[in-house]
Amino acid sequence: MTEEDRRVDAGGRSRGISRLEFLRMAGVGAGLAATPGFLASCEAIYGGGGGSSEGGAIELFSETSLQAPLQELISRYRENHPDFKVKSSYAETDALMNTTRTQIASNNAPDLMQVWPGTGGNAMAVGAVGPTGALADLSDQPWVDRIPQDIKSLFEYKGKTLYYSPGRAVIGAIYYKPIFEDLGLETPKTWDELLSASEKIKKSGKYPFAIGNKDVVFTQFMNYALVPSTVYAENPNFDEDMARGKATFEHSGWKDAFEKYVELEKRGYFNPDSLGTSSQEATEMFFSGRAAMLVTPVVGLGDLEEQYDAVGKTDVFVVPGVNDPEKVWASAGLGSGLGVYSESEKVDEAKAFIEFLGEQENANTFAEMLGFLPITPNREMKVDPFLKTFLPYVEQGKSIYFPDQKWPNAEVQQTHFAVIQQVFAGEITIDEALRQMDKTYQQG
């Protein structure tokens, strides 16, 4: 008798497997077999009941944040296309990317999938998916002609437009108005004014900045808010120069941005232990009025005000990275959007829906509901009040996409995250940090 052919109860008695246990085991097996069903956090079918495939529905897979505007626009599209059916699934970013990549690799991608701009931001960027041929060419759609030249390449791989973006997201300094008003502060227009305001806030016993650098994604926001002024205002072609090997992070305005980031910390303008503070804690610190500024993407700020019972208490300004107000540029990156699976049997229907999204009225709705600036500023658009500060910068060409959107691989961004933490931990110098970024960039 061996362990394989018996089970022993606590009293040392052998016993066989019971029917109930067998059924339980079968249940676990069935549960495991059904596991892929959990990958999408929620799923809905618009325009018809029953299963999607049998009903000929288009499959759409995107981030949960796109759910509300997409639902609205699908409903609007169905008014003139009653036969249009969509089986939509939504998931959080990591799950979405991993699942979609696996689906592409197994030739089973959704008809409409979420894609990110440019080359370097992440593994589902146009530059990463484009080479596989999995994205259909959208170049002949009318909205493509309205894309401003300075961001056109972020939609493309080898000259073909491969995805649709609903708009631009901005990174700026959200400030707590009661603190500024109590101290008689104006929103700073230059770097020195920012330092001066921070000093007064510090002396009042508040933290000038709420920083949650334990979460790597948070670490980048300050640099992304500074480099438009310290790098791109001087050289709008910096990324092209980097690609040609004519520029480096180490010998550019990136060093200035990094030094300013560190200067803020050295002057005591951050909350204590910022490396051990999460972005959630930093956000709570700001909305509770203990910190005066929070540098972050300005998306859904109105909802956050309501969530933290701070309605009307916040506003936004562009982070002035330099002392010449004329050379202050804003950070306005292209948002993720939708691409069409080139191998889809419904590629024409999917492309028709994208064309519908690209119509100005619908593009405005999409951007408005997401809290983005429309790709092309226009008279009909309703701009989120918090974004109005950024609009003149975009219209005057004094804004730049997020830097990682032109980096050659996703690894540079990972290095950027890590070296910021290392610099603030005192493990490496700014020069070493930038050299590491250059090295990763040059790996292509």
């Binding site: 008798m1 804690e281 890590a418």
Partner: protein
């Protein structure tokens, strides 16, 4: 005495309650569904991953180009991966030693005939049944700069010992390690308790009659007899420590910088963030070989020290 539910016949037999017969042979076909599922979700992916480790696959393209040992050469020269290897060893060794030492002390304490032992056993084992991610998020709040730990220290007059627990690269790895130990010391305790209950009381009594003190009784009687439990505990904890992912990822994400990066977090980031599946699976293969080698050596040494009870 014949067992009420099982009849020993010298051949492998199992009583199937619904068959109405005792000692019926189990048809081998019954294992086919299980083998199929195992092959599908374990064997096939494992073999595929081993193959990918010799390719440059990006996880997207249908093409995978054979690159020989290139990924392994990259690993040897990858400072970040090697640093994560060092972290992985530090974490695994510390978890193995401290978790089992605490587990053994708890087991010895709760093996005594004290009134609340069942309650204490339940309480001490409870963290082990929580999902590691939940535990990590919970402790993340406790360790935060304004969290419960720092506030408690300030309240009891130990404000000078307050730390930036997860933000200081000098201590972050040890803080994560402490969390893992907190969660799983109860598991070691339960396994040691099972071993302790197999130690005959008469042997301990005999040792006491021979004049052995508490430590001598433990060292010369109890310790050898709980060697099988020790083997199980050490193997489980070293394997768990070497492939630790959830707690590190949730508490620090591998940071600050690379201070708490382990091989598992590097594998995840390389595959799912950087999209370099070939290199990622190569690191995974290295980890598999390390885990297998250490476990086998450990098992061989520990088994040689086990004695019959």
């Amino acid at each position: 005495m014949e067992n009420s539910s099982y009849r020993e016949t010298g051949r492998k037999r199992l009583w199937l309650p619904w068959s109405g017969r005792r000692g019926a042979r189990v048809p081998w076909r019954l294992v086919i569904p299980a083998l199929f599922m195992y092959g599908l979700v374990v064997i096939y992916p494992a073999i595929s991953a081993a193959w990918w480790s010799f390719t440059d696959w990006d996880g997207l393209s249908p093409q995978k180009h054979f690159v020989g040992l290139e990924n392994f050469r990259t690993f040897i020269h990858d400072g970040q991966a090697l640093a994560s290897l060092k972290n992985t060893f530090l974490l695994a060794i510390t978890v193995t030693i401290v978790q089992n030492a605490i587990g053994l002390l708890l087991a010895l304490g709760l093996d005594a005939n004290i009134k609340s032992r069942n309650f204490l056993r339940t309480i001490l084992f409870a963290p082990a049944v929580l999902p590691p991610l939940i535990v990590a998020f919970l402790w993340q709040y406790i360790y935060s700069s304004e969290g419960a730990l720092n506030r408690f220290m300030a309240a009891v007059g130990l404000g000078g010992l307050q730390q930036n627990w997860l933000g200081d690269p000098q201590i972050a790895l040890w803080v994560v390690t402490a969390t893992v130990i907190w969660q799983f010391a109860g598991v070691s305790m339960v396994i040691f308790l099972a071993g302790l209950q197999g130690v005959p009381q008469e042997l301990k009594d005999a040792a006491a009659l021979d004049g052995a003190g508490a430590f001598q009784k433990f060292w010369n009687v109890t310790r050898p007899l709980i060697a099988p439990a020790t083997t199980v505990n050490l193997i489980l904890s070293i394997i768990g420590g070497l492939k630790l992912f959830d707690q590190v990822f949730a508490m620090t994400g591998g940071g600050p910088g690379y201070a708490t990066e382990t091989l598992s977090t590097v594998i995840y980031k390389t595959a799912f963030v950087s999209g370099d599946y070939g290199y990622s699976t190569a690191i995974a293969l290295v980890l598999t070989v390390i885990v297998a080698a250490i476990s086998l050596v450990q098992l061989k040494i520990l088994r040689s020290q086990e004695v019959e009870g």
